[in-house]
Assembly symmetry: C2
Homo-oligomer: 167 residues x 2
């Protein structure tokens, strides 16, 4: 648990993780954002219109061919500062205990974040986007085209969240 820089709050529950990994991830670039401390990060990606920069490793530069035609991208990144053993969490914002898979918290068995970013511009290996919420220097692990036909569900509901807002 050497990478655990965040403590456990009352009501949170951790499990013993497996002793070995099942697969390996390559960091394929870095994300540059205005935020260097966790408290500064927007609570969610639509809360900020800050322009962030995605620097793709030159090794993968050719893989960007055609990305310029996308209005929005699914950006996957590795929340490398998060603990991975929490199954129940009490997010500060809500103060209620919930399962990790019902939350978008970075603390999860595989600390992969997915954000929908608006693409502004590509210059060489560098993408300018709006819609990320991570710390400066966060490792990039994937970029995908966002297809409204399969990725957009405007009427989707997260019941526990809606109940809170309605309360």
């Amino acid at each position: 648990m050497a990478d655990n820089e965040f403590g456990i709050r009352p009501g949170e529950v951790a499990v013993a993780l497996p002793e070995t990994f099942d697969a390996g991830v390559y960091f394929i670039g870095r994300i540059r954002t205005p935020w260097t401390r966790r408290e500064e990060c927007p609570k969610n990606a639509r809360e900020s219109d800050a322009v962030c920069t995605i620097e793709v490793d030159p090794r993968y530069a050719a893989a960007l061919t055609g990305v310029e035609s996308c209005s929005h991208l699914l950006v996957l990144y590795w929340m490398d500062k998060s603990r991975r053993d929490l199954v129940l969490q009490v997010p500060r914002t809500y103060g209620e205990q919930r399962g990790t898979f019902a939350l978008r918290s970075p603390a999860r068995p595989n600390p992969i974040a997915t954000s929908v970013a608006t693409l502004l511009q590509i210059a060489g290996n560098t993408l300018s986007v709006v819609g990320l919420d991570c710390l400066d220097g966060t490792p990039l692990i994937d970029i995908k085209p966002y297809f409204a036909s399969t990725d957009s569900v405007p009427d989707a509901v997260v019941g526990w969240h809606k109940a809170r807002k309605g309360a």
Copy 2:
């Protein structure tokens, strides 16, 4: 490249991958689908209304608390049969060369797929969903609540795809 079961087509370009991984992934469950060969899989997740089953490892069962209130889930899985070194690909469906990051092909440096699934039911550690397109036995790596407020962009456009359809 022992895990490469698919060949390279004319127009496709591979790069040398890094010699070591940067982080490790845990498989946290398995996805059960009706499809046992790649050719049988739906071309995209909305093409099929087959009910698929997500079996979460009992270790993480508590992490499902609250998930039952979600109408839709973001499901992340590991396309463990795919090669990871292609930067330019010529998908059979399109027959045109495009960058990996402009495609949803499972072949990518980190073979992580993200699908929006409709949640039907949870029984113990087992979720019944509609909207997956992967092979039976595919390793699960994450489940997230789908928030329309941040994940849904109905007017997003993938330019190259739209141009093809308009042609």
